[in-house]
């Protein structure tokens, strides 16, 4: 998505120079390359499905052969070749014609097609043609986001629960009148023909999470840093991968996040006119999550703990994606993109003019955070702390801007009630065995939801969470609405009615949706998840 040719060349050149310099300062060229060859051979042997397998295999075989013969003074050139090789793979491509097609024509075309499954909705709204606009709600600090682009470079950091996220984010940015942001997308997404086409042409750069070579990771981070330094806004999913548990991320990956600080320090060092980098948290909130079944199964399975990349989920089946979207529209279900307040790379809030503020709202000269002997400079140990603090502030924003819908409230209330009725069972056993009592009288559930809604409203007043429009009614409305949404999409609904009782068709899905309320100390039950939200607490396993 680097759109200016001169920038593209500048980034390529600087990427090779900078990464080579960094890695050669830490070790000899032969050490660096031997490590790369080792990791890449291992990956190529295991990753049989990769379309670039043959190309990669021959590249690394040839490089290994030349390395064996090259005298020491020629080896740094081979490092530069390896960096270039990785750089070419990572680099994005942007086709303005495809962008125009996607942003202008697709929403309404898709809307009509998707609404074909619900002619009554189409008729009700005629002559207005239903579109994706009806499905995606934008809220929060959108004006600040729009304004900050003139004052510096923006890194948008959303929560991540579905592969639809990058599409929704891209669409949201277009609706806000913003140009496309650069973003890194998993290489596996490029293998999907339809999505891959758009990914390629809308400028996503590739992130291959199977590549463990430290040199690759360095190239990736430096590429992102350089795009920021060249003034291109970026989008990262700082959780690193889709949240398997369904909960809001409470621990972030610091690698890509750190590129913001590096870019800021480099901007200061070369006295850039517009050095500022802004980090803007955002939440993507779904009443239903396309890949919920796969994600929660992965979370719960022992295998899941080591499966970082899922290539065979619902997103890989276009028919399922289509069915999911059409059901969202037919239900008036919402996807809410909520933009949070912007931060600087140190985690301080910034005002609409892009000025950093201290806790009392006073302006701060943030350049002084970067000083070493009175000048801006990088200091890896110090910067790690700054990045870590920024990550904490982002997580806080995720929790504050988490938009809760009826599906989450219903799931939480039902799950809590089932835990009450099966106190001898830990969560894992409860969802696997369903317990002795797996249905709840609707009256009891309403009572529980009333109490939960009161707690949530209190939290919302304190600015610690957001309630979506589907939670504004009575407990009965929440139950009816939540059940209606649940029964439309998943193969077995998370919650379903049995006469005057409510039970769970799929307790693992119930866990997934209730997890969206983890981390708020609601009710009297202990949390289900560990504090990083990446596994069940040991006593619940």
């Amino acid at each position: 998505m680097v759109t200016r040719r001169e920038d593209l060349e500048g980034i390529r050149e600087e990427l090779v120079f900078r990464v080579s310099e960094q890695v050669l300062a830490r070790g000899s060229a032969s050490e660096v390359l031997e490590e790369s060859v080792y990791y890449e051979r291992k990956r190529i042997a295991e990753d049989r499905g990769s379309p670039a397998r043959e190309r990669d295999r021959s590249f690394w075989a040839e490089l290994a052969r030349r390395l064996r013969r090259a005298p020491e003074h020629e080896q740094p050139a081979l490092v530069r070749e390896a960096v270039e090789h990785y750089g070419q793979e990572i680099e994005g491509h942007f086709d303005p014609r495809i962008y125009t097609l996607v942003t202008k024509a697709l929403p309404s075309t898709m809307g009509v097609v998707l609404n074909a499954v619900s002619p009554s909705k189409f008729v009700q709204r005629f002559p207005k043609v239903p579109s994706l606009d009806d499905c995606v709600t934008l809220e929060g600090e959108t004006e600040q986001l729009q304004g900050l682009r003139d004052k510096g470079t923006v890194i948008l950091v959303p929560t991540h629960s579905s592969n639809l996220d990058s599409i929704v984010m891209g669409y949201g940015l277009y609706r806000l009148g913003l140009p496309p942001f650069i973003y890194g997308a998993g290489l596996n997404l490029f293998h999907n023909r339809l999505i891959g086409f758009f990914m390629h042409n809308l400028g996503a750069y590739t992130v291959d999470r199977k590549k463990q070579d430290p040199l690759y990771k360095e190239v990736l981070k430096t590429y992102a840093t350089l795009t920021l330094e060249f003034g291109y806004d970026n989008l990262f999913f700082p959780g690193g991968t889709r949240a398997r548990s369904g909960a809001v991320e409470s621990k972030l990956k610091l690698g890509l996040l750190g590129t913001g600080l590096s870019a800021y320090v480099n901007n200061l060092k070369r006295k850039s006119d517009q050095p500022n980098i802004y980090v803007v948290p955002a939440t993507l909130n779904y009443q239903l999550v396309l890949e919920a079944e796969t994600l929660i199964d992965d979370f719960l399975s022992a295998v899941g703990k080591s499966r970082y990349i899922i290539e065979d989920d619902e997103f890989s089946q276009p028919r399922t994606v289509f069915g999911f979207l059409s059901k969202l529209i037919s239900l008036d279900a919402k996807i809410t993109l909520r933009v949070g307040k912007a931060l600087d790379p140190f985690g301080n809030p910034v005002d609409d003019e892009g000025r950093s503020l201290d806790p009392a709202g006073r302006f701060i000269d943030i350049e002084r955070y970067t000083w070493v002997d009175g000048r801006p400079a990088e200091d890896p140990s110090r910067d790690k702390e700054y990045i870590s603090e920024c990550a904490e502030r982002i997580c806080e924003a995720f929790f504050r801007d988490n938009v809760i819908e009826n599906t989450h409230v219903l799931a939480r209330a039902l799950f809590d009630t089932l835990r009450d009725r099966n106190p001898q069972l830990g969560v894992f056993k409860l969802i696997r065995t369903r317990g002795m009592q797996d249905q709840v009288p609707a009256v009891d559930l309403h009572e529980r939801i009333d109490s939960l809604l009161s707690e949530l409203r209190e939290l919302e007043r304190a600015g610690r969470i957001r309630l979506g429009s589907s939670c504004r009614g009575s407990a009965a409305d929440v139950v009816a609405g939540g059940l209606a949404v649940f029964e439309t999409y998943h193969s077995r609904p998370a919650a379903e009615r049995h006469g005057d009782r409510v039970g769970s068709g799929d307790p693992t899905l119930l866990l997934f949706y209730q997890n969206r309320l983890e981390g708020y100390a609601l009710g009297r039950h202990r949390p289900v998840l560990t504090s990083d939200h990446r596994s069940l607490r040991p006593e619940e396993q």
């Binding site: 140190f346 301080n348 201290d358 806790p359 009392a360 006073r362 701060i364 000269d365 943030i366 350049e367 002084r368 955070y369 970067t370 000083w371 200091d379 140990s381 110090r382 702390e385 700054y386 603090e389 100390a521 202990r526």
Partner: protein, 303 residues
């Protein structure tokens, strides 16, 4: 040229810090009285702070917020800010969090361990721990103290050091009470051990590291307290037993007891020490009875 250090605050702690920091140019703000002959008063805040790489907030936990609030408008991002404050504020807020609440400073260091103002002021040897997440803070502080008199160890565990520091006061009260009750050194030692375990349980639940309590900050600080040092909190302990007048001024330990009990309740951690002392302070139970029950309760190192 000597590095400049800005020393903010007054009283015993400021005086002790002035004695501990050598080979530096010490200045204070225009609002502070110079603590000792080596401290020069600046005419403006800018003069005091702009050339200072290190700022010392010399106050106890109750006064720390006020000091940080005064410093806040003048704070700069490259300052290293250190404090020896012990105790906590409402919400289980530890000293480093108080500094963060009122200032833009990030490179914060908190002294812990057996650092006693009177002993430092008398130039006795001291071994202390500086907790900071920033290596720069550790490096800078090392250059400021006389190594022949002060040994500084380093940790990144601000929470562990903060909670241990706050519980240092609690164990001082326990020691004062035990001695006023004429209990044996063994019994007094056991009381302190209970305090230590409780500090550890709370500290770990708050995010501190268990290992912190096994070094200078834990046993290293608490063992000397069994020797019955005379201080405000020890005097409070004696007054609670003998019914005499409580020491004047604010006592950080009262806030520590209240906040520890609250924190314990919300995190499902037993706080028998804080509970017992709170009952005595609140005149709900006689000291001998409350401490007797405490000694009979199991030591519960949960984590």
């Amino acid at each position: 040229m000597k590095a400049r250090v800005c020393l903010l605050g007054q009283g015993d702690i400021a005086h002790a810090m002035a004695r501990m920091l050598v080979n530096v140019e010490l200045v204070c703000s225009p609002e502070d009285e110079p603590q000792g002959p080596t401290v020069r008063r600046s005419s403006t805040w800018e003069e005091a702070l702009d050339g200072s790489r290190v700022v010392v907030l010399a106050a106890n936990a109750d006064r720390l917020a006020e000091l940080a609030e005064r410093y806040g408008p003048h704070a700069l991002g490259d300052h290293v800010v250190v404090t020896a404050a012990r105790g906590m504020r409402a919400g289980f807020e530890l000293p480093h969090e108080t500094i963060r609440r009122y200032t833009c400073a990030r490179k914060i260091g908190v002294f812990g361990g057996p650092l006693h103002a009177q002993e430092v002021a008398a130039e006795h040897h001291a071994t202390v721990v500086l907790a900071s997440r920033f290596r720069e803070a550790a490096r800078v502080v090392d250059t400021l103290v006389p190594e022949e008199r002060v040994t500084v160890e380093h940790t990144t565990d601000l929470v562990g050091v903060g909670v241990a520091g706050a519980y240092g006061h609690v164990t001082s009260v326990l020691t004062g009470m035990g001695q006023a009750l004429s209990w044996t050194p063994t019994a007094v030692g056991l009381l302190v051990a209970h305090g230590m375990v409780e500090a550890r349980n709370l500290g770990v639940a708050a995010g501190g590291e268990p290992a912190t309590y096994q070094g200078i900050v834990g046993w290293g600080e608490l063992i000397p307290r069994t020797q019955g040092r005379s201080n405000r909190h020890g005097e409070l302990g004696a007054a609670l037993v003998q019914g005499g007048e409580r020491p004047a001024g604010q006592l950080e330990v009262l806030t520590t007891l209240r906040e520890s009990m609250r924190f314990g309740q919300t995190h499902d951690i037993a706080t028998p020490v804080a509970d017992a002392l709170h009952r005595v302070v609140d005149s709900q139970e006689e000291a001998a009875s409350a401490l007797g029950a405490l000694l009979r309760s199991p030591l519960d190192p949960r984590h």
